[in-house]
Symmetry: C2
C-alpha cells in the first residue's frame, strides 16, 4: 500500500510524540521536528507508510541519542497485558469456540499502538477486550482462516506491538505450534515487539520466535533477513497483525490473513469499513498494471 | 505568541486541506505537500503561527495557480450567515443587555474557521449561536470592555473570517460607529475576511472598513500597511477576533480585547481554559526579558 497524503500530517504528529518521549530538551525536540519535516519532504510517497516511519524513527533515535524511546512503554504494556493473561486464557479454554475467542482477543490487543494513540492507557485494553468479544466479525473469513490453519504445513505469524503479543500468545496457543513460527521486529521502532518482548511475555516458551532483522514498523520484505524472506515466500499461511503489516504484506495474496483493529481513516478507506472495526481479511495480489 | 511544536502537524494538515481545495490534481497535491514540509522545516518557530501560515498559504496558492482557494467557501458562509442576520439582530434589539448579546454572537461567529475545521457545515453556526448565548463569560472582562467602549475616542475592530463578519456586524452596530474602524485582511488567505467580504455582508455601509495590506492569517504588524500600523498604535481600544489575531496582537497590552472561541489545545493552554470556551480577555505587555 502506498503512503497516502493523509498519512503525512499523522507522521509529523507521531514524530513530535516520539521526540517528546526520546528527550525532554525542548530545543532538541524542535530540531528533531525540523529535520523530520525535511526528511518527510524527501520520501517517495509510492512506498508503503512503514518506509517513512522507519526513516523518521531512525532519525529521532539518532538525534536524541536514545536507541529505544518506547522501552518503558513497551515494558509497561507487556506487564499490564500479562496480568490479564490468566483470565483471558480461561475465557478461551471455557469458550465453545476457543479459536474464534482467541482470534478476537488477539485483535483486541491490536489497540496497543502508540503510533496512532500515544496517550493510550492500560485501562483502554480492558475496554478493547469487551468490545472484541462482542464485535461483528466476517464469519466466513474466520471459518476460512480456521480451515487453513488445520491444513497448513507451515504457518508464519507476524506480530505487531509489545503488550499485544500477550494477546497474540492466546491465539498462537490455538495454532499447531510445532508448525508455526512467530516473526517479530529485528530492532526497536515505536512500540513494536522485538525478541526481548517475546521473551518477556513467555511467547518464546510456546513457539519458535525469530526476528526479521529490520527496524521498520511493518514488514518491508527487502529489509528483512534472508530467513524471514524465505519463510514468508514458502509458508502456506501468513497471519499478520496490525496496520503496519497490513500496509506491507496484504499484497502477498490470499494466503495472508490480516488481523487488525482499524485505527485511522486511511486504512478504513482501503478496507472499506469504519474506524474502530475489528478486521479479519485476506490479502490480494496487486493488480497487473502493465508496462515495465 | 511563538509557534508551538504542536502547531506543526496541524499546519501540515491545514496545508493538505488547502491543497485539496486549490486543485483536484493529486500529483500537484503531493508536490504541494512535499514543498510545504520543506518550507515548514525552514521556519523560525519563535515567530507567531501566522508567519508560518502566511508562508504556507502563499506557497499553495502559487503552486496551484489559484489566487483564492477559499473563495467559494467564503461566499457560502457569508450568505449563510446573512440569512441568520435578521433573527440575530432581533435578538440583540430585544435583549435586556444588547451589548453583551451582540458580543456573544460575535464570538459565536468565530466558529467559522476553516483553518481549524475544514469540514465545518453551515448547521454548526446555528449550534454555535445557541451555545454562545448560554455560555459562561468572564463578566468583569465584559463589563471592562463595555466601559472602555463608552470612553474610547477611537476603536479599532480587527476582524477574522468571512461569514464571521456578519456576526461581527451585530457587535459593531452596538459600538459608536463614527469612532470605529474595522480592519480586514489585505489579500486572500484561508477563509479570512477581506474588503470584498466586508462589502458583501454590508459591513462597509455601517462603519469605516480598511484593509491591512497583508495576506497573513493574523495581524503581523511589520507586514501591515502604514495606515493600519498607525491606527493600531494610536487608538484607545482594539477589539480583535479569533486565534490568529490573538497570536499576533495580545502582546499589545491591556487596551487590546481578544474575543475568540478556543479551537485548539495550544491556545487553550496559553489562555488557561478548555477547548470550546468562549473567551473575552485582555492583552498583556510581553514580560521584560533583559539583554538585547
Amino acid at each position: 500500500m502506498r503512503t497516502y497524503l493523509d498519512c503525512i500530517p499523522c507522521f509529523i504528529r507521531q514524530a513530535l510524540e516520539a521526540a517528546r518521549l526520546a528527550t525532554s530538551d525542548t530545543d532538541l525536540q524542535a530540531e528533531i521536528i525540523r529535520q523530520a519535516l525535511w526528511l518527510a519532504s524527501q520520501q517517495d510517497f509510492d512506498e508503503p507508510p512503514p518506509v517513512m516511519g522507519q526513516a523518521l524513527h531512525r532519525l529521532i533515535r539518532r538525534l536524541a541519542g536514545d536507541t529505544d524511546p518506547y522501552r518503558e512503554a513497551k515494558q509497561r504494556f507487556n506487564q499490564a497485558a500479562l496480568t490479564l493473561y490468566p483470565e483471558l486464557k480461561r475465557r478461551v479454554t471455557c469458550s465453545p469456540h476457543p479459536f474464534e475467542t482467541a482470534l478476537r482477543l488477539s485483535i483486541a490487543g491490536n489497540i496497543i499502538d502508540l503510533g496512532v494513540n500515544a496517550d493510550l492507557k492500560v485501562s483502554h485494553m480492558e475496554a478493547a477486550v469487551q468490545q472484541a468479544l462482542k464485535a461483528t466479525l466476517e464469519e466466513d473469513q474466520v471459518a476460512q482462516l480456521a480451515e487453513r490453519v488445520q491444513n497448513a504445513e507451515s504457518i508464519c505469524f507476524v506480530a505487531d506491538n509489545a503488550g499485544e503479543i500477550v494477546f497474540d500468545r492466546l491465539l498462537v496457543e490455538e495454532l499447531p505450534t510445532e508448525r508455526t513460527t512467530v516473526v517479530v521486529r529485528g530492532a526497536p521502532v515505536l512500540n513494536d515487539a522485538t525478541l526481548e518482548d517475546a521473551r518477556a511475555v513467555g511467547l518464546t516458551e510456546v513457539v519458535r520466535v525469530i526476528d526479521n532483522g529490520s527496524d521498520a514498523p511493518g514488514t518491508l520484505l527487502g529489509d528483512c533477513c534472508e530467513e524471514v524472506r524465505r519463510l514468508l515466500a514458502r509458508c502456506d499461511l501468513v497471519i499478520a497483525k496490525g496496520q503496519g503489516n497490513y500496509e506491507t504484506l496484504s499484497q502477498l495474496g490470499e494466503r495472508v490473513f490480516l488481523l487488525l483493529r482499524v485505527k485511522c481513516p486511511v486504512i478504513a478507506g482501503e478496507i472499506g469499513c469504519p474506524v474502530g472495526s475489528l478486521v479479519v481479511c485476506q490479502g490480494r495480489e496487486p493488480a497487473e498494471t502493465g508496462g515495465a
